[in-house]
């Protein structure tokens, strides 16, 4: 297959469509054809084409109109205008609107080859640029945190305020809310941003191992310690240490950490020489530390030491307005990773995703979008692609007792249409009405095809 490029030929003349189709097929391109502009747009909405060859003069929607629409809806798609009625004016106009090239029929085979080489280069450069830009954004964006809701805006302003200080910060939030992202954002905005950011999940280590990881050890400190090793307090050397799941550490470890925070000195296990350390501590937990203090599992002095400033990240269900932003962010991320051209989510699906409670928060949403992207076969994600979430009570339709007759009719029509891929005849048969009646009902309810 030729560089996996997909081509759509749009021409009202069958003989032209066939000639180009055969030529491109023999060159190994995956090729489709459309008889007019509307058919081309319909095909584009279902599958991705990298390049369109569009006849300038077609009945109905002309080549320039199609070019304009395609450039608006799918700016990455290259469009080549072909015409038997060429003029300098029309060539200039085509290029101005965004055509990649302009070919006069009949053209020499080598002209077409040159155009394809040029477009292939263009598409390669564009995709490389997008990839690199994405990588740069990842590196340079302090946020990497998606969200425009009021609670998130407040968090951004707190990050801006506290980042430049050296005060320990406690980040609170349910699992999957992005506590480590907030910690990284604080580090990036801090004066220590050119020094290491070291993250450690305290919940993942038993006490003795956590001690060795944090403080390091001297040679012979315990069986198997064949060499001395630096702990994270030393490794971080001037940077930021992020301790996730701080609520999981033992009371003994809390005492040890408290001492380090106060004295800024550590002693490696099995050693006697204190070593000066310099770091900023950020910690995070999903637990209610106040309750743990009351229950005697967490030391209040340690709590006050790490909790000079606290940032609480709201769960996703409390900032539903961020869900579309997050969905599109992950959609872009995973369609790039999987090289699948999926670029939209239909409105009904977005509404359902907003209604879902997301107990696993942003992480769960990310996993759901990734799964949908991997399994989806169309360019737009629909409810079908999130079928696996339907088990959740909030995504299932609301109880019929609470719906008006009209709403119930609308919902039922939508369900039947969706289940039949919007085939009007089949849906009308199932509903027991004529096609015309079904069309009237669709218009009356303002139901839109996704």
């Amino acid at each position: 297959m030729n560089q996996n490029m997909k081509i759509l030929i749009v021409d009202d003349e069958l003989v032209v469509r066939e000639s180009l189709y055969h030529w491109f097929s023999r060159e190994g391109y995956e090729t489709g054809t459309a008889e007019n502009g509307n058919e081309a747009l319909q095909k584009l909405s279902k599958e991705n084409f990298d390049t369109l060859f569009v006849d300038m003069k077609m009945p109905g929607m002309g080549g320039f109109e199609l070019l304009e629409t395609v450039k608006k809806l799918y700016p990455d798609t290259a469009v080549v205008i072909i015409t038997a009625y060429g003029s300098i004016d029309s060539a200039v106009q085509a290029i101005k609107i965004g055509a990649s090239d302009y070919l006069l029929k009949p053209f020499k085979p080598d002209q077409l080859s040159l155009v394809m080489e040029k477009i292939s280069q263009q598409l390669k450069l564009t995709s490389e640029y997008k990839y690199l830009k994405g990588q740069m954004d990842k590196i340079s964006r302090f946020d990497n945190i998606i969200g425009q809701s009021d609670p998130m805006k407040k968090i951004y302003s707190v990050i801006e305020e506290v980042a430049k200080t050296d005060a320990p910060i406690l980040i609170l939030g349910e699992t999957g809310t992005g506590k480590e992202l907030i910690a990284k954002a604080i580090h990036v905005k801090s004066l220590r941003n050119n020094l290491p950011f070291v993250a450690l999940n305290c919940g993942a280590f038993p006490d003795s191992l956590l001690e060795a990881e944090l403080f390091g050890y001297a040679k012979g400190a315990f069986t198997g310690a064949a060499h001395s090793r630096k702990g994270f307090f030393e490794v971080v050397s001037g940077g930021t240490l992020f301790l996730d799941e701080i609520g999981e550490i033992s009371r003994k470890m809390q005492v040890d950490l408290l001492r380090v925070l106060q004295e800024k000195k550590i002693t490696r296990l099995g050693d006697t020489h204190p070593i000066d350390v310099n770091f900023r501590l950020l910690s995070a937990t999903r637990q209610d530390l106040q309750t743990k203090i009351q229950e005697g599992h967490f030391r209040s002095d340690f709590f006050y030491r790490i909790n000079i400033i606290s940032i609480e990240i709201p769960p996703l269900r409390e900032r539903k307005e961020d869900i579309p932003l997050l969905v599109y962010h992950f959609l872009e991320k995973y369609s790039q990773e999987t090289t699948k051209k999926i670029d939209s989510v239909d409105k009904t699906t977005l509404d359902h995703l907003k209604a879902y409670p997301w107990p696993g928060n942003v992480r769960e949403l990310e996993n759901a979008v990734e799964r949908a992207v991997v399994l989806s076969k169309s360019r737009t994600l629909t409810l079908k692609d999130f079928d696996f979430l339907k088990l959740a009570p909030d995504l299932s339709p609301p109880s019929y007792e609470t719906l008006s007759l009209q709403d119930m009719e609308k919902r039922h029509i939508e369900t039947v249409l969706r289940n039949n891929d919007w085939n009007i005849s089949r849906s009308a048969d199932i509903l027991g009405v004529s096609r015309a009646t079904l069309h009237r009902m669709i218009n009356r309810h303002g139901t839109e095809k996704p």
């Binding site: 003349e13 003989v15 032209v16 066939e18 000639s19 180009l20 055969h22 030529w23 097929s25 023999r26 060159e27 190994g28 072909i82 029929k105 009949p106 053209f107 020499k108 085979p109 080598d110 077409l112 080859s113 040159l114």
Partner: protein, 183 residues
Amino acid sequence: MARKSREIDRDGFCLGIQPIGEIDPGYLKILAGSFLGELGIRTLILPGLAQPDYAFDSRRIQYDAGIIITRLEAMEFKGCRCVIALMDADLFIPVFSFVLGEARMGGDHALVSIFRLQGNRSGIVKVALHEFGHLMGLDHCHEDTCVMKFSKNVEQLDSISSMFCNYCLDQIRYGIRKKPERP
């Protein structure tokens, strides 16, 4: 890389070579020899056909390759599984200003024009082998050493090989074996 045996299926497959218009018999013999030598395919030189006036486009002063192939498809060539027609006039298909040869992918009939290849015997052989490849269902090849590589123009045609790469040769073998009998 070692070349594979050229032997394909000497007994079961016969390719017809159909002259159209005034064709130097020397070209026909060279083609027959090349198919036998390169692919081990038996050929049959068919009696000549008259110039296809029905396919002449007076505006372009060229012959429409698609129309000629359609006419060939309607004819019977006894004893020949596939036919390659050789023509001395200039050919076109609607979008291109000219073509050196034309074949429908997986079809039974191909057309080669010697109009732009007068005196270029190896060029004629390359185009014929290339179009035969399309009849066997082959796409263009990206190997510089393969006759299935697309030539943008006559100059580039001279620079490509007159042999199939091993991959395309395997595909030709497969194509000949799997080609259904004509009804």
